[in-house]
Assembly symmetry: C2
DNA sequence: TAGATTGTTAATCGATTAACAATC
DNA sequence: TAGATTGTTAATCGATTAACAATC
């Protein structure tokens, strides 16, 4: 039984389905059809059915989808029913903001340690975690069942640290450094390139001003 | 002369080209062929030539592309040759981190004001800017030539604030709130949904563990 | 049973890649 | 001029949408 490869386009849409289904659930809505979801989410009903069917038949003809059940299933697919151990490398402004932002924990992403190379930060508490020196990383990752490392360090250091993390057996890197990391293909990298995102916005603003939209 | 619509797929790649060309420039490299760039960036040379040709013939047969020139041209296309006025709504951890992160200014994105509804934060200085009450927003946007608003507020407030900003004439919204904003199509929205990004990473980690990659 | 809506196949659309003539 | 490499057209591939038979 061949497990068919699911495209990243589909994966990228799953968290959005998850979010909307969560909202419907919170509103006490029990069932939803692909057409109703289509109206709310502004995507085609066809795409919704295709996307979901990559993972199995969650619906029922003549009825639609059970909101609670579909929500739970997508959560399972995304892995938010499990707990993930995270460490964060770089205790600067962004690193601290991410640690302090409590909402990731709700989805099972647990910050377990914070590291920085700056000795002046060592021992400083960030939301009940003391900032540790980089030298502790190896033993900490091994001892605490760490899946994911969050990189909030300058790009000049990111590649070197990523290499170490791979060596320590990390499974995924959430990369905020503005550089493309070179890691073995079994290690997953998810980039958050904020300045790229901002430039894209700037482009779209300037284009729309030039009035390309009225055709 | 019809201005052809350029796909978002292409736009999304421009900041990455820009980054790599900046690096080549800093290394003092004068010219680059699509093939060389292809090797460095791990995309096809064909895609590079197609992408660039959406905006004009920046290269020269038999020579390739002049790094300095192409860098400048892409910068111009992205609008980083111009200055953009930004305000940030929400002076929490993430908002403060973004203001304090100096690198956006290098690209012409200038934080001009910080707003928060919490009176306890009003007057607090964040990188030389005092946090202002929401009531000041309208006059500030109008008086200071503000293009872009950065939303780092909870999703419950985001939609309402976005509506106001649109009314005040904002051109673009950089949205960190976990909600899809409903704005007129002439207002550009760029979403940064961090928890979606993290869930995608979680999915890819769990898939790769199930060994779908050896085919 | 009749009506509704899925799951899935087929058609379309768009994006990527390949190929090569144009030209520096 | 010969060699290199673009700009651009054509071919391929993949993703989205439409259609409809299956089935609740």
């Amino acid at each position: 039984m061949e497990e068919k490869e699911i495209s990243q386009a589909v994966i990228s849409r799953l968290p959005r389905y998850f979010r909307y289904l969560g909202e419907l659930k919170d509103q006490g809505i029990e069932r939803v059809s692909s057409q109703e979801l289509s109206d709310i989410m502004k995507v085609t009903a066809s795409q919704i059915r295709q996307d979901l069917n990559n993972f199995g038949g969650f619906g029922q003809q003549g009825y639609g989808y059970n909101v609670e059940h579909l929500y739970r299933e997508i959560g399972r697919i995304l892995g938010v029913d499990q707990s993930h151990g995270l460490i964060i490398i770089g205790a600067g402004n962004l690193g601290q903001a991410l640690v302090n932002y409590g909402n990731f924990e709700r989805r099972g992403f647990i910050f377990k340690g914070v590291f920085d190379k700056d000795p002046r930060l060592h021992g400083k508490k960030i939301r009940d975690k003391e900032v540790q020196p980089m030298e502790n990383m190896k033993s900490f990752v091994e001892a605490n069942n760490i899946d994911i490392a969050v990189l909030t360090i300058p790009k000049t250091e990111a590649e070197k640290v990523a290499e170490q993390l791979v060596e320590y057996g990390i499974k995924g890197i959430w990369n905020f450094a503005h550089v493309d990391l070179n890691v073995p293909e079994e290690v997953q990298v998810e980039n958050v390139h904020l300045s790229d995102s901002l430039m894209k916005l700037a482009y779209n603003i300037s284009r729309s001003r030039k009035g390309g939209d009225s055709g």
